[in-house]
């Protein structure tokens, strides 16, 4: 006769004791004129999870580093930070007396190397016929290899020199390889061996994301706005509760910049279901839906993994793809379970 909260509480406690052993069921006939509609859960192979912090980074070890061989008075970068450059493209102009000194030193080293080479080449037959002592040959060889190494060292740098101008005591360094240039801008002077710039190969630009360990195994891709990038590798070492993952190279159309801090939507490879949000209700600390079987509604537990504005992404022990889930008047049906109804 009368709907009462007392009954609700009694039902609540009764239900508490029974729910552990059996699911709640209601006859459809008991639902009166409540508007009822059902939805068949949509099974999907993957789902999007909660946003994760990420950074556009370069895969470690793939950078090409270029350093200055001398202390430089003036460093003028000829390209912008992060610009994509081609091999041989002018990158930086080094100006100053030390540049002149370096060029002169390179000339001297080159001459010394030629001299040492000639001496080495000439004395090589003499060693075979025993005209020179082993001790002498060791000295000649040492001198040759030493000057060779020094020359090669300077030669490698000089190979990157695109042009030099003795009048202005400057030289221009070009890109040894194609890639994204990462300029090392310093407020202090560039001392010898200071890094001038590095070149990051385009396929080294990846998204580095820390994914919760519990979900790391199923992470298959990440989405940033409209950009979808697959996961390339997953670290085998945990960082706290997270595991680091690297994406495949960032496509140019993603418009992501190196070093950019972003929030990505992880995509997990797992068979899940999409359900309307208004089909889900809470019951004794569990999340449930009503499924229709014949002339009854049965409440079953589900696990919400994520959501879209209109739908929940849920996992369930049961195969939901073939059953109908109540998606209207769910709260009223829950009210019936609570014992509500009537005057």
């Amino acid at each position: 006769m009368i709907a009462k909260y007392g009954a609700s509480l009694l039902c609540l406690s009764a239900c508490l004791s029974t729910s552990l052993v059996q699911a709640e069921s209601l006859a459809l006939a008991a639902l009166g004129n409540l508007e009822l509609s059902y939805t068949q859960p949509q099974k999907v192979a993957s789902y999007e999870g909660s946003p994760l912090p990420a950074q556009v980074d370069r895969l470690p070890g793939n950078d090409y580093w270029v350093s200055t061989p001398e202390n430089i008075q003036q460093v003028t970068f000829l390209v912008g930070q992060g610009q994509i450059v081609t091999k041989g493209q002018e990158i930086v102009r080094l100006t100053g007396p030390e540049v002149f000194h370096y060029l002169a030193q390179f000339e001297a080293t080159s001459s010394l190397y030629q001299l040492a080479k000639q001496r080495y080449d000439r004395n090589k037959p003499l060693l075979k016929n025993g005209s020179i002592s082993a001790e002498k040959w060791r000295e000649i060889s040492q001198d040759y290899f030493s000057s060779h190494l020094e020359f090669e060292h300077m030669q490698h740098f000089m190979e990157m020199v695109h042009s030099k101008d003795a009048t202005t005591e400057s030289l221009v360094i070009s890109a040894p390889v194609a890639g994204i240039v990462k300029l090392n801008t310093l407020n202090s002077p560039y001392m010898a061996d200071s890094q001038l710039f590095s070149l990051v190969p385009a396929d080294s630009i990846r998204v580095q994301v820390n994914v919760p360990m519990s979900q790391s195994t199923s992470l298959s891709a990440i989405n940033i706005n409209q950009c979808h990038i697959a996961i390339d590798s997953m670290s085998a070492i945990a960082d706290g509760a997270f595991v680091g993952a690297w994406s495949m190279p960032v496509p140019k159309e993603c418009n992501l910049l190196l070093g950019q801090q972003i929030t990505v939507i992880p995509e997990y490879q797992k068979a899940v279901y999409l359900l309307p949000k208004n089909s889900v209700f809470s019951w004794q600390q569990e999340t449930q839906v009503f499924t229709q079987t014949a002339e009854t509604l049965t409440a079953i537990n589900i696990d919400i993994l994520g959501s879209t504005p209109q739908q929940y992404i849920v996992a369930s022990d049961q195969d939901l793809s073939q059953i109908q889930v109540l998606s209207q008047s769910v709260a009223a049906v829950k009210g019936i379970m609570l014992g509500l109804g009537g005057e």
Binding site: I2, K4, Y5, G6, L9, Q261, G306, S329, I336, L340
Partner: protein, 1017 residues
């Protein structure tokens, strides 16, 4: 002195007539000036504190807000009761003061005490002392309809265009805006960007607050001029907000738009409004206490007409509740009854007096007395309402009594054809009856004096009745001794002295029957006393209730759904029900439903609660004869919606019940105690007993426990490593779930809150909550679950307190039996079957409480009134025995009242009790008329028997006149069907029934008893 007054009136007839005319004109003016309302102001001096604490649970609010306030308020003097209801995010504290406490003093006291504890409240608490209104203050409600406007736009219009204008109307305390979406500028922080920029949540919030300011800097004197200098920084629009610089260092400038997503959003919704199944926005106008409701409503309507012209095209103000309708209908009902009563009385007078002139003279006392009553009502600030005008209707029959006695005596004296000037005869006739007329009137006034002692609701309702009756009787008395003799001197002639033949025949028949009765007096006495005993038996069968339910014309359907329901799901169910009722019940013109809490917090309902206002079509279009049948039809449809509780009430009835007991229902059973779980268990047990008790309907138990909570406990060791405090964590959580208003953007008269909030759609599961990213104070980024532990807990849904103690309540209406017996049965059951732990107690409230109080008051005061009447009678007759003789008529009058009450099926209620009080007076008056004549004619008749018979025959006409005029004066109230008639009906039935029996006993029993008494002496 009386003689002087009469002499003066008759010697200065023109003067008296002119004064009377002036008074009549003043009375007519007063009628138009008297404040009109449906009911008297029934509220006690009451001050409400409403505080909002977004995001806080009931237990937290109780501990941190409600209890400190209650402790502070308990020290205020003159308080009657302190109640509070604490729900999620709201604390509603009500303090009732004793009768007569000045409302402004009370409000000042409460405000001062509140200010004293305000600093101890948690941050984010808003609100304060509620507007000075009463439960009857919700006088006008309308929705704003415009299909071209979004719900947010409609709400904006109501909030910033309509509300400020309506608040300028005199008498409007506040305008409550409900439904739609309250616009905000939503700032949704991007944790990754904030972490990269090194900006914490708190810093972001503070930067917004600090930069939205215009500050006066002082004055700059330039030569002979002084110019005001100010620092300008106030944000004007959403674009400026987006461009706000939050951090700038190392040539890096971080603007708000770089760190957060900024968009136009809305505040968290605590309620919604639907009209005929579609969402809308409404305004609810609250009137100030002690205002002229009819005037305020008229002014509101005029203002709305002005406003309508400036609203966007297609806008329609859809009024769904207008108190003026109830006022007009109620006043019409009572005015019609008054008019009909006057006509009936005049016809009766004409019939009994048999002379148009004499009848006209007596009848003139009716409008004249009524106009003088209005004059006094205006002077004493008494509003014209159902009760005060009802008092006038009750008095109509008695108003003519004085004039009847005076005029009757005049015509009798004139009939003696003495050779004296007619003016002198009129003077003598008036003078002769002046003392009995005055004492009779005083007796009636004393009879109604107990009503002035009633307190509570019954006192508020029936004091105007008593006061109006006293005013009317005084007016009638003054008129009967001044104006009536003057008018009579012009109109009454010798022809008026002749008794109508019908009266003569009636008199002959009465005389014959009286003689027979005196012969067979013993059987007559046995029958009379047997009937009296039977009526006493019937009394126990008559149902008892506090007050009949007033039909306000409208219906409110209350719906209650699953306690944890979301607003959207709640609205969805409401819409289903609304669509069905509109389709199936054509008597419903429109339905406007209010789900959840209102903006001010005057009605802090949960999201699972809905009040549906049903505006009904005119009764002529109904398929049903009564409102009950219509409700039955609605009920049968609602029963098809299981899972939803429902209840029927009316706008004023609902608020009055809440005001009286803090809960709605005929009987409220309160269980006091401290532990929520124990209270819940006890309430459950008692609720079962209530349901099992015969007569209980609409049983409801306040659900105080069982609300699920998700507890997020900060892992202190870990969180401190990042510099995160619990306070900062809580603030962050609030911003993610509820939203935190950090500042406001002023745009003309509009104020748009800037809300730090997460995009609501992104957080809709535990999983998402756990994975929510936090920017730690050290600017690192962590998931919520990394620094906090999530657990489930059940806590109270609401906490109700009275006089500082927690309680839970079960309410029930009682149908088919009286409340008193219901409560007695229930009390016995509880005592027998429920074991109360130490510190726990049960008390009964609701209408039952009022009925008990009213009964106790009347039981104390009525004997005093009877004693006073006895004193007057003793003074008049100089004999205690004769006084007793007259008072012996009283039980027989009561007998008629009881029998008529039983036969009509009405309950013994406060109005019925007032009817019995009125009977007391009329019964005594009849006796006085009879016995005083016997005493006057003591020396005219030698035989006692002849004196008794002839005297009775001589007094037949005046007795019948006073009795029938009183009866027929009340007859319209018995048959009135409009709103308000219900409250007067039991009264009229009791008086009519009582008059019937008391007239018979006056005409037959009293002569016999007088005969016995005189014979013995």
């Amino acid at each position: 002195m009386l003689t002087s007054v009469i002499r003066f009136s008759l010697t200065q007839r023109l003067f008296v007539l002119i004064v009377a005319l002036i008074l009549m004109l003043a009375g007519a003016r007063a009628w138009f000036a008297i404040p009109l309302d449906a009911f008297p102001d029934i509220s006690p001096t009451q001050v409400k504190i409403i505080l909002k604490a977004p995001g806080m649970t009931p237990e937290e609010i109780e501990a941190q807000i409600t209890v400190p306030i209650e402790t502070e308020l308990l020290g205020i003097p003159n308080q009657a009761i302190l109640r509070s209801t604490t729900k999620y995010a709201i604390s509603d504290i009500t303090l009732d003061f004793t009768e007569g406490t000045d409302i402004y003093w009370a409000r000042q006291q409460v405000s001062e005490r509140l200010a004293a504890v305000w600093d101890s409240f948690p941050e984010g608490v808003s609100g304060g002392v509620a507007p000075m209104s009463t439960p009857l203050s919700e006088i006008f409600m309308f929705s704003l309809e415009n299909p071209n406007l979004s719900l947010m736009e409609r709400r904006q219009l109501l909030e910033w265009e309509v509300r400020p204008l309506l608040r300028t109307v005199a008498g409007v305390a506040d305008v409550n805006i409900l439904g739609g979406y309250a616009k905000s500028f939503s700032v949704n922080p991007n944790p990754a960007a904030m972490a990269a920029a090194g900006v914490s949540f708190a810093a972001l919030q503070q930067a917004i607050i600090d930069n939205n300011h215009n500050e006066g800097a002082g004055k700059l004197t330039i030569g002979t001029d002084t110019i005001i200098v100010r620092a300008e920084g106030r944000i004007d629009d959403i674009d400026e907000l987006a461009q706000l610089v939050i951090k700038a260092d190392d040539a890096k400038v971080y603007r708000l738009q770089d760190l957060a997503d900024i968009q136009i959003g809305h505040l968290a919704r605590y309620g919604a409004v639907t009209k005929d199944g579609e969402e809308t926005a409404e305004a609810l106008i609250i009137a100030l206490k002690d205002t002229n409701t009819a005037d305020v409503v008229n002014n509101i309507k005029a203002k709305l007409e002005q406003i309508s012209a400036s609203l966007p095209e297609g806008s329609e103000i859809n009024t769904f509740y207008d108190r003026a309708n109830l006022i007009n209908t109620a006043i019409d009902t009572i005015s019609n009854a008054l008019f009909e009563a006057v006509i009936l009385v005049i016809v009766l007078l004409a019939l009994f007096l048999g002379n148009v002139r004499a009848a006209l003279v007596v009848s003139l006392s009716l409008p004249l007395a009524a106009l003088m009553t209005f004059l006094m009502m205006d002077f004493f600030n008494l509003s014209a309402n159902l009760m005060s005008l009802g008092g006038l209707v009750i008095a109509i029959g008695m108003l003519v009594d004085s004039s009847v006695v005076v005029v009757e005596n005049m015509v009798n004296l004139i009939a003696t054809k003495q050779r004296l000037p007619r003016l002198h005869l009129i003077f003598r006739a008036t003078k002769d009856v002046a003392i009995p007329v005055v004492s009779g009137t005083v007796i009636v006034m004393i009879v109604f004096s107990p009503l002035l002692t009633l307190t509570g609701l019954e006192g508020k309702l029936f004091t105007p009745v008593a006061v109006t009756i006293v005013f009317a009787m005084l007016s009638a008395l003054v008129l009967s001794l001044t104006v009536i003799p003057v008018i009579a001197s012009y109109l009454v002639n010798e022809k008026a002295a002749q008794e109508p033949k019908a009266i003569e025949k009636l008199k002959a028949a009465y005389l014959a029957s009286l003689k027979s009765t005196i012969v067979y007096q013993k059987p007559f006495m046995i029958v009379a006393f047997s009937l009296l005993i039977i009526s006493l038996g019937l009394f126990s069968l008559v149902g008892k209730t506090f007050m009949p339910t007033l039909d306000e014309g409208d219906i409110i359907l209350q719906l209650e759904k699953s306690p944890s329901i979301s607003l959207e799901a709640s609205i969805n169910i409401d819409k289903q029900i609304e669509h069905t009722l509109l389709a199936k019940v054509p008597e419903i013109k429109q339905m406007v439903a209010r789900t959840g809490a209102d903006e001010i917090g005057l009605d802090p309902m949960g999201l699972n609660e809905t009040d549906v206002f049903l505006e009904l079509a005119p009764r002529s279009e109904w398929r049903f004869d009564t409102k009950e049948q219509l409700i039955d039809a609605i009920r049968s449809e609602l029963l098809n919606y299981p899972g939803v509780n429902f209840n029927f009430t009316q706008p004023i009835q609902m608020r009055v019940s809440e005001m009286l007991t803090g809960s709605i229902g005929d009987v409220a059973i309160k269980v006091f105690g401290s532990d929520i779980d124990t209270l819940g268990q006890l309430t459950g047990q008692i609720e079962q007993l209530v349901s099992a008790t015969n007569g209980s309907i609409d049983v409801k138990m306040s659900m105080i426990e069982g609300s699920p909570f998700i507890n997020l406990t900060l892992d202190n060791e870990l969180a401190r490593g990042f510099g995160m405090s619990t306070m900062e964590f809580a603030r962050y959580l609030k911003s993610q779930l509820e939203g935190v208003i950090v500042t406001e953007v002023l745009q003309g008269k509009k104020r748009t809150p800037v809300l730090m909030a997460n995009n609501q759609s992104s957080l809709s599961s535990i999983n998402e909550l756990q994975n929510q990213l936090l920017v730690m104070p050290d600017h690192s980024l962590r998931r919520l679950t990394d620094v906090a532990t999530l657990s489930y807990k059940e806590g109270p849904i609401l906490i109700e307190r009275e006089q500082g103690d927690r309680f839970s309540v079960i309410t029930t209406n009682v149908q088919g039996r009286d409340i008193v017996s219901f409560v007695e049965e229930l009390d016995a059951k509880i005592a027998e079957q429920v074991k109360l732990p130490s510190g726990y107690s049960v008390s009964f409230g609701g209408e039952f409480e009022n009925q008990q109080r009213a009964t106790n008051n009347l039981l104390l005061v009525i004997p005093i009134a009877i004693a006073l009447i006895t004193l007057i009678l003793f003074t008049t007759f100089g004999s205690l025995a004769k006084s007793g003789l007259i008072l012996a008529n009283v039980p027989f009058a009561m007998m008629g009242g009881i029998v008529s009450l039983y036969l009509s099926g009405e309950y013994l209620s406060v109005p019925a009790s007032v009817g019995f009080i009125a009977l007391l007076g009329v019964a005594v008056l009849n006796g006085v008329v009879m016995v005083s004549y016997y005493e006057q004619t003591k020396h005219q008749f030698s035989s006692l028997l002849v004196r008794v018979e002839q005297g009775a025959a001589r007094r037949l006409r005046p007795i019948l006149m006073t009795a029938t005029t009183a009866m027929f004066g009340l007859m319209p109230l018995v048959f009135a069907s409009g709103p308000g008639a219900e409250i007067q009906k039991p009264l009229a039935i009791v008086v009519i029934g009582g008059l019937l029996t008391s007239t018979i006993t006056t005409l037959y029993l009293l002569p016999i008893l007088y005969y016995w008494l005189e014979k013995r002496q």
